[in-house]
Symmetry: C2
Subunit: 226 residues, 2 copies
DNA sequence: TAGATGCTTCGATTACCATCGAACTATGAA
DNA sequence: TTCATAGTTCGATGGTAATCGAAGCATCTA
């Protein structure tokens, strides 16, 4: 009974958890590399490569080669629209099957997204830094302000070291739990590292949960609630 | 990495060919029984039952019990929207992978949909009968007009025999190739049977293609082009 | 040049799920 | 009641696809 526009083929492409996670990550609007997408999806680079090949063949994502990286973006507004609609349905459905495992709230609160802070606290960090005028974001992305550069030095982050890497300093990353942005990029990662170093937080073993100490959470609030 | 609104879960539900065919059939807007959906999807009733249970659990379709039938409808406008967007993407993809097997154009032109005529000629039939005021359709469905009842008798169709079956006389069926309606229901099926009997057309062996003879196609055009 | 990193291909394994036959329940018709 | 039809559940089977380890290619850096 293979007939008609293969809606099943397209839906099946979006219907794999790993691929769906990749696509959700790409909803941020910025191009991501294959490796980043692999980590976002929680699979090995090989597996991710296979998935990306399928998505590319299905014209869901578009690759753009740059140096030894391959950056992927969603291949069109219709893909974005489809994902948004599906998110809406999934949320509707999700409300009814309230199976909040014990870890779930913690994951929503603070977790690692690749190597930076995500969850409610990640969003709070992004917003706090924006309010304090340490970062500013426009259509092209996010960047440190002059005040932000000063702040980074005071906070113990070596920006020059970060800049020597090819990875962008600041990047916006869409948060699934809050549907808002949190801070990614090497600066975002450095901030989380610094939180670890300062003893504000520890990373949960064998999970992506980030656990803040009481004192650490207080200091964090000072940082973002200014 | 199960996190976030389970867009994958929803997409996977739409990503099975059998389920996608059922949902496409339901895009016509009318409620269909489990058996009808099974035939539409080309699977056995058992398999269909399993699929429908999943779709129901996922809140994609809503069942309504009536007598010993279970009528299914799409559970909301968001589902319709999702299917439409996916159809659009699938069409776009289809354009680029132009693997039009030799049978493809013929399938688009005239084919069997379960037991009635679909494809361009199916759409032409629906429109022709409407223009001649033999059928009329509104939100509730399609029905024969008084003139249509007369016409049926003259054309050699025993309406009383059809009415004795529980199956609806006229039904609208959405056409994937033309995105328009063609005529289903027992009357639609009877028309196609009559075309066979009159020698206007033959059904292709082992395929769903309907092949009109030259003379048959001429007569058909007289019928619908009035 | 050598070494590191990003990404892919290949091959083997595993797990899931669609499918259908058979048997069962429920509703309606005679 | 008895028979037919609509629909389901159960169990077994098969095929497909996701996954990862290992190895390869490509690109950048030193």
């Amino acid at each position: 009974m293979k007939e008609g526009p293969d809606i099943a083929r397209v839906a099946a492409l979006l219907g794999d958890p790993a691929r769906a996670n990749m696509l959700t990550a790409l909803m941020g609007g910025r191009a991501l590399t294959a490796t980043e997408l692999a980590q976002e999806a929680g699979v090995t680079p090989q597996t991710a490569s296979s998935h990306l090949a399928k998505l590319e063949a299905g014209m869901i994502v578009t690759p753009r080669k740059q140096g030894r990286h391959r950056y992927f973006t969603l291949s069109g507004p219709d893909i974005v629209e489809a994902l948004e609609v599906l998110m809406g349905i999934a949320n509707r459905v999700g409300h009814n099957r309230v199976r909040t495992g014990p870890k779930d709230p913690e994951l929503r609160h603070a977790r690692v997204c690749y190597d930076h802070l995500a969850g409610d606290m990640g969003v709070a960090l992004f917003e706090g830094l924006t309010k304090r005028n340490l970062i500013e974001s426009d259509l092209n992305g996010v960047a440190l302000t002059a005040a932000g550069i000063t702040f980074a030095g005071e906070f113990g982050i070596d920006l020059d070291a970060l800049r020597s890497k090819r990875r962008p300093l600041c990047r916006e990353c869409l948060d699934w739990s809050a549907r808002q942005s949190h801070l990614a990029g090497s600066f975002g990662a450095a901030l989380l590292d610094r939180f670890y170093d300062l003893g504000w937080a520890r990373r949960g073993v064998e999970s992506r949960i980030v656990r803040f100490s009481r004192e650490g959470e207080r200091q964090f609030r000072d940082l973002v609630n200014f």
